[in-house]
């Protein structure tokens, strides 16, 4: 059985969406976190056995913890949805899939955080530039409807979730983002996850 360590409307909301897409049984363990605006409270020390820095998301799959959004997506989609939400190892789309899952967490997230914090005033933060990231995103989405090709994959949950979240304040106004998010927002699993996240 999968347990999702979840805080409402946080980075773990994406994993809730993934679990709904996969259609496997899971349970939610509501976990306190400190939100960006200072609200909330820190999880108990015992939670460190699941997540070393007491953040969300993390999961427990039959007693084995997995943490970091990119890792959880790679782990779950390969185990429970190989050939569907995760391209198989010999599928040529596997390359774009693993690249985008990791690029979401190691590229897009630090770049967007640097912009949000105002660290990139001189446009040289070591994370890469917002402009490069946006051009790459839109070029990819103009070539095919989903981030790793013609089919929806688990990479869209992370990348699409980030585009939806950053669109209002950090990203420039581009049609490629609006079309992409509109396509994802129609998915029944996304709508179910939103309802569960709201409690």
């Amino acid at each position: 059985m999968i347990t999702l360590y979840h805080a409402p409307r946080s980075r773990s909301s994406g994993i809730l969406w993934l679990l709904e897409e996969m259609g496997v049984p899971y349970k939610i363990a509501l976990t306190p976190i400190v939100y960006g605006d200072g609200r909330g409270a820190s999880a108990p020390e015992s939670y460190r056995a699941i997540h070393p820095h007491k953040k969300v998301p993390a999961i427990d799959d039959d007693g084995r913890p997995v943490f970091e959004s990119a890792a959880i997506v790679l782990y779950l989609a390969d185990k429970y949805s190989l050939g569907n939400l995760a391209p198989r190892l010999d599928d040529p789309r596997r390359t774009a899939y693993v690249t985008w899952v990791v690029y979401y967490s190691a590229g897009m997230t630090p770049i967007a955080t640097a912009r949000f914090q105002g660290w990139d005033a001189d446009n040289n933060t070591g994370f890469g530039t917002m402009e490069d990231m946006e051009n790459f995103l839109c070029k990819t989405l103009e070539a095919h409807p989903y981030i790793a090709g013609d089919r929806f994959t688990a990479a869209d949950i992370l990348v699409g979730g980030a585009v939806r979240f950053f669109k209002s304040n950090l990203l420039s106004d581009r049609k490629c983002y609006d079309d992409y998010v509109a396509r994802l927002d129609k998915r029944p699993a996304f709508i179910r996850a939103q309802a569960k996240d709201a409690g």
């Binding site: 980075r11 976190i33 400190v34 939100y35 960006g36 605006d37 200072g38 909330g40 070393p52 820095h53 953040k55 799959d61 084995r64 913890p65 997995v66 943490f67 970091e68 959004s69 990119a70 890792a71 790679l74 782990y75 390969d78 185990k79 190989l82 190892l89 040529p92 596997r94 390359t95 774009a96 693993v98 690249t99 899952v101 990791v102 690029y103 967490s105 190691a106 590229g107 997230t109 630090p110 955080t113 949000f116 914090q117 660290w119 933060t125 070591g126 994370f127 890469g128 490069d132 051009n135 790459f136 070029k139």
Partner: protein, 198 residues
């Protein structure tokens, strides 16, 4: 056939190490990149969307971001057991530690280098001291990131710590010094060093 897009003595060098460990057929394509100092030019033949290294091509399909390349290659070339496969017991820890490298440890070092305070709650990562406390705890208990066996995750962690050496960015630790020595003593690392210099 795997092609590694590479510039000598950069973050792509460790992928020669990994490819040597895997016993995989590969070729190296040398490319120029823009340097941190602003010199150098992006090579138009480099398929990396931002003109950086490393990137690999597998018969024309591109993978970049170091943790993604490691996972892709250890999945594709399983014979030397460099990474737990889908369904194996340590797969979850393996992907967690690969992702942790790219989304926590590297941003932590970059933040320290930029001399900015990591905002708790907003950033997905933590500061270097907190991240290294976690890594040192793991390596204090076992010789490698996944336990008793060397894996693709060690290619990332050990080469990073080795590269920092005595830099003030990395907190001093005998555990880390021993770990780096253990990993970089491997014959595949020596072969990779030779190829990198060539």
């Amino acid at each position: 056939m795997i092609t590694l897009y590479h510039r000598s003595k950069t973050r792509s060098s460790r992928f020669i190490f990994l490819l040597e460990e895997l016993g995989a057929p590969y070729q190296i394509k040398h490319v120029t990149t823009r340097t941190a100092q602003g010199g150098g030019e992006i090579d138009p033949s480099n398929p990396h969307p931002h003109g950086k290294v490393p990137a690999i091509s597998d018969d024309g399909e591109i993978v970049f971001e170091s943790p993604a390349i490691v996972l892709y290659l250890t999945d594709k070339f399983p014979k030397n057991n460099l990474g737990p496969q889908v369904g194996e017991k340590k797969r979850g820890t393996y992907v967690s530690m690969l992702a942790y490298y790219g989304s926590v440890l590297e941003p932590a070092f970059v933040s320290k280098f930029m001399n900015v305070t990591v905002p708790v709650g907003t950033a997905g990562w933590v500061n270097v001291e907190e991240a290294m406390k976690f890594v040192i705890e793991i390596l204090g208990k076992s010789p490698y990131i996944l336990g008793d066996k060397f894996s693709g995750a060690d290619v990332l962690y050990a080469t990073t710590f080795g590269m920092f050496g005595q830099s003030p960015l990395l907190p001093k630790s005998d555990v880390i010094t021993g770990y780096v020595k253990r990993c970089l003593e491997r014959p595949a690392y020596a072969r990779a060093q030779e190829k990198d210099a060539a």
